[in-house]
């Protein structure tokens, strides 16, 4: 793993925790390979919408929250970081 993506992953962990106001989660609790939704971190459809908004605001990434494509990108932290690196405009 490159140091860049390591920094980005930590940044995304903070983004997830702050956006969703997860009071009992620290960056260490988020495993890069573990599912973010349902299993693992246990996020749900409302969280997906809020996370989509935050990605748009922070990185200028546009997503259709319901599409299969975004589901794939939201699967785990690793894929989310890949998405941000590939598509960020900010």
């Amino acid at each position: 793993m490159s140091p860049v993506s390591n920094d980005l992953e930590l940044e995304l962990k903070h983004l997830i925790i702050d956006t969703l106001e997860l009071e009992d989660v620290t960056p260490d609790d988020i495993d890069r390979d573990e599912p973010l939704f349902v299993e693992g971190l246990g996020l749900d459809s409302i969280d997906a919408l809020e996370l989509g908004l935050a990605l748009q605001k922070t990185y200028g990434i546009k997503l259709d929250a319901d599409s299969e494509e975004s589901r794939h990108h939201f699967a785990d932290l690793k894929s989310l970081a890949a998405l941000v690196e590939a598509r960020r405009v900010k």
Partner: protein, 586 residues
């Protein structure tokens, strides 16, 4: 003797040498405060009121001292005024009442107090339909609502109580606020109407209660003027917390009756109180809106018996319907509680469902509470809607002591377990996101998990500088113990040490000073720290017990503190405060 009633104004014709009030902690033979002295207090209040406004006004009245409260109340009534009783003395509450009242009377900020000098009272005219008091609901079922009570409504209730539980000159000792209907009726209006003395101050702590009962027991033996016994007006919080270590031996000799209201008393607490005080608790079920509905003594059965004149029935949903002389209308009214009728009484089955829409989905909070309550180790639970977070719920969960989480990992595991338990029956979007695990059910002084208590439990969500507050236990005016957790998202721990975040000592001290001001009323100016140590680092997610103790001398207040967890002592030491310079403001 004519029937006790406010309209009969029995205080006007009371024997002036008999006691209206009783100083429970005064030296022997100086305990009694006579009706003559009480009349002079009524007069003193009328002198004040006459300087403030012509009769026919509404006044805000808040006064902790029961007899002085009674004097102010009667002064208003006899002058042709009515009063509004704020539920508490918080600035927002008072400001809300200011809008509908002429001025504040009593012991709150910007309030008028009568001079100590007495005066002759003036008697006026009371009539049945006149508004006597307005007071507020507790807000346990939503925002507090104002309710008006006429003299006729209050009298109907007082007469019923007097027939069922006659005071017969006994001393009325109260542990509840008379700003609410239960305290007002039982601790103030009943002794006034029945000519019984009331204790001169509220009895807030069990040590005080035991002391007062011992003193009364002694006085009774060598003074014929002493009250022949006492009646205790109490509530679930003080009764549940009666310590075994205190000497209650005098209680059965002195106490004729113990009343409890505000919330249901658990069977265990009713047995505990009955064992220590030697008298079974007479509970009253009712609300500010309805007045008293029914009563019971649990040692005689779980069933509630309707008060005389109150009619009760149920409907196909099990909801309680009520027709009562204590209501302003004579119609049947549906209540939020569910019952099952049994013989000439009923059992309470809890409240009808609390239904809420969360993220567009309809949810029964009651069902969620039941599901959480059914998990092993959960004593009871309440799911709450958080006004600032309308898409996410909070949950307050009381756990058996061995199940309490003491660190971040244990708390996360517990939340995960409870989430999985709920996901069997609920969609993930309605499962609570914010959890508060408590070892004792947090309530206000009325015994209710009120909106104020709920907001206190979740305050750290809105203010990332404060610890998570999980309840306080007050031993007396100078000692309390509370449970705190360090929020993971606390502003101060971020970036402190990147890999090993800890709470800085200066932050811990700041918390302690703020909590001492909140819970022990410390008002002095911070002076210095003494012998402060932070032996074990305090880390995010950690659960600690903070003990605070005040000592006073002529100049300083010293606050001793200790913060402990199973891992060790996190902070100990003392904070010294100087007494604040008092500015006399006209």
């Amino acid at each position: 003797m004519t029937e006790a009633s406010l309209l009969g104004a029995p205080w006007r014709t009371a024997s002036l040498d008999q006691p209206a009030g009783w100083r429970c902690d005064a030296p022997a033979a100086s305990e009694a405060v006579t009706w003559r002295a009480f009349h002079e207090r009524i007069g003193a209040w009328q002198v004040l009121l006459d300087t403030l406004a012509t009769p026919g006004r509404r006044w805000l009245l808040h006064l902790k001292d029961p007899l002085e409260f009674a004097a102010a109340l009667i002064a208003c009534w006899e002058r042709g005024d009515s009063v509004v009783l704020p539920a508490d003395d918080r600035p927002d509450t008072l400001a809300g009442v200011d809008r509908i009242t002429h001025a504040r009377l009593g012991d709150v900020a910007k309030a008028h107090l009568a001079t100590p000098r007495g005066a002759s009272p003036r008697w006026g005219k009371l009539n049945a339909e006149r508004l006597a008091v307005s007071l507020y609901t507790s807000g346990s079922t939503g925002d507090p609502q104002r309710l008006n009570k006429s003299f006729a409504q209050l009298d109907a209730e007082l007469a019923t109580h007097a027939r069922l539980w006659p005071l017969e000159g006994r001393l009325v000792i109260s542990q509840v606020s008379h700003q609410h209907i239960y305290g007002l009726l039982f601790a103030i209006l009943r002794p006034l109407c029945e000519g019984a003395p009331m204790a001169m101050s509220l009895c807030r702590y069990p040590e005080t209660l035991s002391d007062w009962l011992w003193r009364l027991d002694r006085t009774r033996r060598h003074s014929q003027d002493a009250p022949p016994g006492a009646v205790l007006i109490s509530a679930p919080p003080p009764l549940e917390r009666l310590p075994r270590e205190i000497d209650w031996e005098a209680a059965p000799r002195v106490l004729k009756r113990v009343h409890s209201s505000g919330a249901a008393l658990s069977w265990a607490a009713s047995e505990h109180a009955c064992e220590l005080l030697g008298v079974a608790v007479s509970e009253i079920y009712g609300s500010s809106e309805t007045g008293g509905i029914a009563w019971r003594i649990q040692q005689q059965g779980e069933r509630w018996m309707p008060l005389a004149g109150v009619e009760v029935r149920d409907d196909c949903h099990g909801a309680l319907w009520l027709r009562s002389p204590f209501l302003s209308s004579g119609d049947w009214q549906r209540q939020a509680d569910r019952i099952s009728l049994e013989g000439d009484g009923f059992r309470l089955l809890g409240r009808s469902d609390r239904i809420l829409k969360v993220g567009g989905k309809r949810l029964s909070l009651t069902a969620m509470d039941r599901a959480l309550g059914g998990h092993p180790g959960v004593v009871q639970a309440r799911t709450v809607w958080l006004p600032e977070r309308d898409t996410r719920l909070g949950a307050i969960v009381q756990l058996a002591p061995e199940r309490l989480p003491h660190d971040h990992a244990a708390r996360r595991d517990l939340i995960e377990t409870l989430r999985r338990h709920l996901l069997a029956a609920f969609e993930s979007t309605v499962v609570p996101r914010y959890w508060r695990f408590v070892d004792a059910w947090p309530t206000d002084t009325q015994g209710k998990l009120s909106g104020t208590v709920v907001r206190r439990l979740f305050r750290d969500l809105e203010d990332r500088r404060v610890p998570r507050w999980l309840g306080v236990e007050r031993q007396d005016d100078d000692h309390c113990r509370m449970t705190l957790e360090v929020p993971e998202r606390l502003r101060y721990v971020q970036g402190h040490f990147d890999r090993h975040p800890v709470v800085p000592g200066v932050v811990i001290v700041q918390w302690i000073v703020e909590l001492a001001r909140e819970h022990l009323g410390v008002s002095g100016v911070f002076q210095r720290l003494e012998r402060v140590k932070f032996p074990t680092l305090l880390v995010p997610g950690e659960r600690v017990t903070l003990s605070l103790a005040l000592t006073h001398d002529a100049r300083d207040t010293r606050l001793a503190f200790t913060a402990r967890s199973p891992r060790g002592t996190h902070a100990t030491g003392r904070v010294v405060f100087h007494a604040q310079e008092v500015n006399h403001v006209e």
